[in-house]
């Protein structure tokens, strides 16, 4: 049993879907159990962090890390698992690009806490209690992790060897990765384990003229399953998104949402998508165009749905200035409201 693969799986800021995806390789999971010894998998097995701390550095062969970095505990465990693992895999869109959780980077911590602990209609919090990172009780001091002002992708915190994108990664790719790891037949470090070409390249829908008069959303009508969704006015991220997912969304007649991140040559997934979508609208009159393009509801949330933490701008301005002001212990930072 000495040469069994030593494996750790961890979840940080994620929904749990990646964990389910691991089980979605079906009966092959038994093969994984045959091939590998698991040393940490919080969702399924009862190991403690101190068990991992007790391991020698580099003891683990592989860590599959899903989820983004939202708080200090996640960062600490990422660092711990990095030390203990020979190979660190960013597993899923959140670990690779920030994913859905990084859409919270439109707001800073104060705004998020205010909303969650004071403002939501279902909240009753007369004492205005907020979670504290340390709290004294008769038995001693209790600690909670620090909630960061922004959401980070995994490689902002630690070095990542391989990226396995997707929300969640499809079982076929997970199995490809597992096999590559077991056989030692690994691609160059830094590789994204997916295709180089865009989703459109693999999509079998009929593609004609990319022009529309306005965009519509998926709940508004049932699109023709044979025809390109963009051409029917549904925003589909296929043109700018890395393929390899198996086009599961498209075969269910739903648009690509972009979870595989940018194609290798994209300047930035969101910006490229903006360019692709905006220029599809027909017309030359500025006012009419402005009206038509208003049907692109929530450009930031649509174009950066999975990659906000990996984009050029990354945060709303306020988050950045608030964060710096807080760290410096200074008066409010100079920007956001122009004088």
């Amino acid at each position: 049993m000495a040469d069994k693969l030593k494996l750790a799986l961890y979840w940080a800021a994620s929904c749990g879907g990646c964990e389910i995806a691991v089980l979605d390789i079906d009966e092959k999971i038994l093969k994984v159990a045959e091939l590998a010894d698991i040393y940490l998998w919080p969702v399924a097995l009862d190991f403690k962090y101190k068990d991992v701390e007790a391991l020698a550095d580099g003891f683990l062969d592989v860590c599959l890390f899903n989820g983004a970095i939202r708080n200090s505990e996640q960062r600490e465990i990422a660092e711990l698992l990095r030390r203990k693992s020979k190979v660190m895999v960013a597993f899923g869109a959140c670990a690779c690009y920030g994913g859905i959780p990084s859409l919270a980077n439109q707001f800073d911590r104060d705004q998020i806490f205010g909303r969650v602990y004071f403002d939501t209609p279902s909240t009753v919090n007369p004492g205005k209690v907020l979670p504290q990172t340390s709290y004294r009780v008769p038995e001693g001091e209790l600690h909670l992790p620090t909630f960061y002002n922004a959401v980070y992708k995994l490689d902002d915190a630690v070095k990542v060897d391989y990226y396995l994108p997707g929300c969640p990664p499809p079982p076929s790719l997970i199995w490809t990765a597992v096999e590559a790891i077991v056989s030692g037949n690994l691609p160059p470090p830094g590789s994204v384990i997916a295709e180089e070409k865009a989703v459109c390249h693999f999509c079998t829908k009929r593609k004609d003229e990319k022009t529309v008069t306005a965009f519509r959303r998926v709940h508004e009508f049932i699109p023709d399953p044979e025809k390109c969704l963009l051409e029917q006015g549904i925003i589909c991220s296929g043109p700018v998104t890395r393929g390899g997912c198996g086009e599961r969304c498209l075969s269910a007649n739903m648009p690509c949402r972009g979870c595989f991140g940018p194609t290798p040559e994209a300047i930035e997934q969101g910006a490229n998508m903006l360019g692709a979508v905006a220029t599809m609208v027909e017309g030359k009159d500025e006012q009419a165009l402005a009206k038509a393009l208003e049907t692109v509801v929530d450009p930031l949330g649509t174009f950066y749905r999975f990659t906000l933490a990996d984009s050029f701008l990354r945060l709303r301005n306020r988050s950045l200035t608030a964060r710096e002001a807080e760290r410096a212990g200074a008066a409010p930072a100079p920007k956001e409201v122009a004088s």
Binding site: I69, S72, R75, Q106, L130, P131, Q132, T133, L144, T146, F147, Y148, N149, A150, Y152, D156, A157, A266, I267, E268, G270, A271, N272, L274, G275, V277, A278, T279, V281, K284, E286, L289, A290, L293, V296, D298, P299, L300, F303, S311, F312, L313, R314, L315, R316, N317, R318, L320, R323, E324, E326, R327, G329, P334, K335, E336, A338, S339
Partner: protein, 159 residues
Amino acid sequence: MSGKDTFEPRIVAFLCNWCSYTAADLAGIARLKYPGNVRIIRVMCSGRVAPGFILKAFHEGADGVLVGGCHPGDCHYLEGNYKTLKRKLVMDRLLDQFGIEKDRFRLEWISGAEGEKLARVANEMTERVRRLGPLGRTRERLARADALELRNEGGAASG
């Protein structure tokens, strides 16, 4: 980096080869004055300015971005400037969502004969961005902020 009065904004101007860049040439020949804050990058068509160029310019330290193209109907490539206009209409809304002020991004149609307009737009934009102050969305600043949060909690943790 002192007060706002002395702040010299950096403005990146993408000007199309056929109209707006020619206008900049004309402004030079006519000895019209416009501030050196505007750094011109010549592109073959305003339609070549991918949205990523604009965001990257901000990321690399620009305080404002100007795009100049031919007047509607005058595009050397027939419709390049309309494509720019369409992208601009969505880009305005995206930048607003990122908390970046409207005056930091501007699209202007400037023909090869309008050296004066180019100088006026450059002056106006420099003044407006100067009033807004530094954008400070540079990769260095982001990296510094990340380092504060991710690598050095320094007891500054708050709930």
